[in-house]
Symmetry: C2
Subunit: 168 residues, 2 copies
């Protein structure tokens, strides 16, 4: 029986398609001072994210994006181009760090690597994948590391035999 | 010599003012479907964050906020009312998880507890504080747990003798 036509899900990956060590790269996003200040005004209203002059006298020594802004941009890059998973990107949680500030003018992109694949015992239709995503700027400096646990669907529609090698 | 007049920093806490086990509570924020969709359109454009009807057929079984939206709202609550630190809230990183979805109509607040205080050896003017922040809804369900490492300034202006007990 032919598979139903796919449009949105085309070329998107199931758990069985992933392998530890497989890497993905996203498109880029250019962040500017206006974006940094707009995000900060809404979600992280602190002087080092809001005002160029005041920021100079802080630990950041200049305007820097909220870490949560870097995280949000990273998510957009992952969703749109960085990690083509069939069910979307559904995170249960993870570890996050910001080794360097994100600055106005930075060109951000996300490089991800599959670190672990764990099929669920209780839920045969899915599994958990640990992915390390580094958000890098135009100088290849890492501004964020996110190690996320994602829920990824299995290709359960296929009968068991189809998952065996074709020849033995 | 009298201390300079403080306005912004009034009643804000230095490293020496914190103690393991001390708790803080934030004000509340009411999240609605319009906020959820606006954040998702900008940063996490996936069907379960964008459209009520489509969301019903997903793992979330209804519209849910992006985890990064919950994180951003948590940050705003911490900055404005939840954690009055003298240098602001400067995070080096941490662990984050979302045990339950954030839903339209949820009334979010953040309850934080100091878990560890580590004065810096190399930087005598500051230290690192580990804070567990639970974001809870109106039913007291935890929708996010953030265990963050924050940089907190010491009250270095005081001479060494002033940090000893007043009587012995």
């Amino acid at each position: 029986m032919p598979e139903p036509p796919e449009t949105e899900g085309q070329n998107r990956l199931y758990l069985e398609d992933l392998a530890v060590g497989r890497r993905f790269s996203s498109a880029t996003h250019v962040i500017d001072a206006a974006q940094i200040k707009a995000f900060a005004a809404q979600f992280d209203p602190q002087p080092f994210h809001l005002d160029d002059e005041t920021a100079k006298g802080t630990l950041f020594a200049g305007l820097a994006a909220s870490g949560w802004h870097t995280a949000a941009i990273t998510m957009r890059l992952l969703v749109e181009s960085g990690l083509p998973l069939v069910g979307g990107i559904i995170g249960a949680g993870g570890e996050i760090s910001w080794p360097k500030p994100t600055r106005p003018g930075d060109v951000l992109r996300v490089v991800s690597e599959i670190e672990e694949i764990v099929p669920s015992r209780s839920r045969p239709e899915r599994g958990m994948v640990r992915v390390r995503s580094e958000t890098r700027n135009q100088r290849d400096e890492v501004v964020q590391v996110l190690i996320a646990k994602l829920v990824v669907p299995r290709r359960t529609a296929a009968p068991a035999a189809a998952r065996e090698p074709a020849t033995k």
